[in-house]
């Protein structure tokens, strides 16, 4: 197993062989636990009568003292002409600051209930080897975000909430589904058949909004050990926003190894899947790069392990 860069092993196989299954899926498992945990917090009330957390992702109250509110929904309300009460403003500010620090799209990969759906769609998409399909520009979601705000202002309502699958699914699970499951199926097949990584990667304005929140976030992934990269391209294959990797991984000497694009969801899949552990979580001021371990490898990267 030393011909990486020439023979393509299936994505992730090398990491599995080197680090073991858990080592190669650590952040994926943690993310699923986190997603389940955040959902469970809200379900403890209706299921077991433990009302520690009330409400849903749009707005909640924890232990009767900690309000949390989705700032994107509040912003739409403001565009629609309603200035919210202090409780919601405080709740919105807490969420804003928290995601501002840990990375806006941490919401997408660690909390959002739609993420497991689109991840599953992508997993199946890979398995079935389907074509990419419609791939609109990554900027599309920002345009949609702008449109949502404009429509909120024009109609005087919180516009995105009439179709927002994120809050609808969450509310559905906690309060009652109605026909929301149809929406989930719709998104699943959209991602599977119409557009690879379509919803979370190109369309969802909630993700776009949280991206914007996290532009200056502290927590970042860094290609610390980028000189060890053997071009297996596995990180590109697993990353839901793989356009963010190149500047950090393939940057010239002296450029930052940090993945600074706010599109990165801090999901940590690149860390998992890399057999030579190029990536690591760090903070945005840590621009340290590991020195190449073996001078020869710099001149002949593809055959580094062959010797």
């Amino acid at each position: 197993m030393s011909t990486k860069g020439k023979v393509h092993l299936p994505v992730g196989q090398e990491a599995r062989e080197v680090k073991g299954w858990f080592g190669a899926h650590k952040y994926l498992v943690l993310r699923r636990i986190s997603q389940t945990f955040f959902l469970f917090l809200f379900l403890m009330g209706p299921w077991f009568g433990l009302w520690w957390v009330q409400g849903n992702l749009a707005g909640s109250m924890t232990f009767g003292v900690l309000p949390l509110n989705d700032p994107m929904i509040l912003l739409q309300g403001m565009f629609a002409g309603h200035w919210p009460e202090t409780t919601a403003l405080i709740g919105g500010l807490i969420v804003l600051v928290a995601y501002g620090l840990i990375g806006g799209r941490v919401y997408c990969s660690w909390v959002c209930p739609i993420n497991p759906v689109t991840d599953t769609a992508h997993w199946l998409h890979d398995k079935l080897n389907l074509p990419k399909g419609w791939q609109p520009k990554r900027a599309t979601r920002y345009w949609i975000l702008g449109t949502v705000m404009a429509v909120s202002a024009l109609t005087g309502t919180i516009a995105w909430e009439v179709i927002n699958p994120v809050t609808m699914v969450h509310r559905g699970l906690v309060f009652g589904m109605g026909f929301v499951w149809a929406l989930v199926i719709g998104i699943f097949f959209f991602d599977l058949l119409v557009a690879r990584r379509g919803w979370c990667g190109h369309v969802c304005p909630v993700g776009a909004f949280y991206s914007l929140i996290g532009t200056k976030s502290l927590l970042r992934v860094s290609a610390v050990d980028r000189s060890a990269c053997d071009d297996c391209m596995d990180c590109y294959a697993v990353c839901p926003e793989n356009q963010v990797i190149s500047p950090a991984l393939k940057g010239k000497d002296g450029s930052t190894p940090l993945i600074l694009s706010p599109d990165c969801t801090n999901c940590g899949r690149c860390i998992d899947v890399c057999a030579v552990d190029v990536f690591a979580f760090t903070h945005r001021f840590d621009t340290h790069v590991e020195a190449p371990k073996d001078a020869v490898s710099d001149t002949e990267p593809p055959n580094r392990h062959a010797a």
């Binding site: 009330g45 009302w51 009330q54 409400g55 849903n56 749009a58 707005g59 909640s60 109250m61 309000p67 509110n69 989705d70 929904i73 509040l74 309300g77 629609a80 002409g81 309603h82 919210p84 009460e85 409780t87 919601a88 709740g91 520009k137 900027a139 599309t140 345009w143 949609i144 702008g146 449109t147 949502v148 404009a150 429509v151 909120s152 024009l154 109609t155 005087g156 309502t157 919180i158 516009a159 995105w160 909430e161 009439v162 179709i163 809050t167 609808m168 509310r171 559905g172 906690v174 309060f175 009652g176 589904m177 109605g178 026909f179 929301v180 149809a182 929406l183």
Partner: protein, 272 residues
């Protein structure tokens, strides 16, 4: 430098066409979204918003659909509308009086729970709530209107004798009984729906309706002369000559009056 300018020009053209395409797409998507949101504004008449809810248009700009009001309602009155099942805008709170009416809690926990002000914090006395107003919609089936003494809607009203009273009137059918007509006074009725819930008929004869359906509105310049006169303590218009009233009596052209005589004119359809 024409050689350097050329790719720039292409870049700019590309940028412009891309932007135009995005803008076009967004205009279409935005119109669709606006259509759906406008559609979602239609609130079914039997869906009543919680106490203190802002007028529907403002409510949809304010309510984030968090359900905290639902959770803090001790009677499980409130529910969040489910997509495609309930007619109200998805995720917004409402109640159906005939299922569980609002019990008019003194401390109004639903309003206290609302983080956004979609339920107005200015509502501090539950009697001031105007969720709608009860209307006795079916006099033909209401037992009291049939001459019986059911009285249930009247008895259960939390604002009894103010929001709803029993007004007596002559029972034309029996000729010698009274009808105790349940009569709602919209200026006092909170729209809680307890009466609708309690009506003994299989389909309630008294229903809470949204104010826009239940009420008319007097023109702004209308004045009730008798009230103005009472307030002023004198005739509203000065110098009106008060002509003597022609009372029925001897000498009137009215056979019904004692001592009257037959009128010279003939009223159509009246046989005197």
């Amino acid at each position: 430098m024409p050689t350097a300018a050329k790719p720039r020009k292409v870049d700019r053209r590309r940028f412009l066409t891309d932007s135009a395409r995005m803008a076009g797409g967004c205009a279409v998507a935005g119109t669709l979204l606006a259509y759906v949101t406008n559609d979602a504004k239609a609130l079914p008449d039997q869906a009543i918003r919680p106490p203190g809810a802002l007028p529907e248009d403002d409510f949809l700009a304010a309510c984030i659909r968090c359900g905290l009001c639902v959770r803090d309602c001790p009677y499980d009155t409130l529910v969040l509308a489910e997509l495609g099942v309930d007619g109200a805008a998805t995720g917004t709170p409402y109640f159906t009086a005939r299922n569980i009416p609002c019990e008019m809690c003194d401390d109004i926990p639903c309003v206290a729970a609302c983080p956004t002000g979609a339920l107005d914090k200015d509502l501090t006395v539950i009697d001031d709530a105007r969720m709608g107003t009860a209307v006795l919609v079916d006099q033909e089936n209401c037992l009291n209107f049939l001459g019986l003494r059911c009285d249930v809607c009247y008895r259960v009203c939390p604002v009894i004798d103010e929001a709803i009273t029993l007004e007596t009137m002559h029972n034309e059918r029996s000729g010698h009984h009274a009808i105790f007509a349940p009569t709602v006074h919209a200026d006092k009725c909170t729209g809680c729906g307890v009466c609708e819930k309690s009506c003994v008929l299989p389909e309630s004869a008294i229903k809470v309706l949204p104010l826009r359906l239940a009420r008319g509105e007097a023109a702004e310049h209308y004045r009730l002369g008798w009230e103005e006169q009472d307030a002023k303590g004198a005739p509203v218009v000065e110098g009106i000559i008060d002509l003597p009233d022609r009372l029925p009596g001897p000498g009137t052209d009215n056979l019904a009056a004692p001592g009257g005589f037959e009128p010279t004119y003939k009223l159509p359809g009246v046989s005197q």
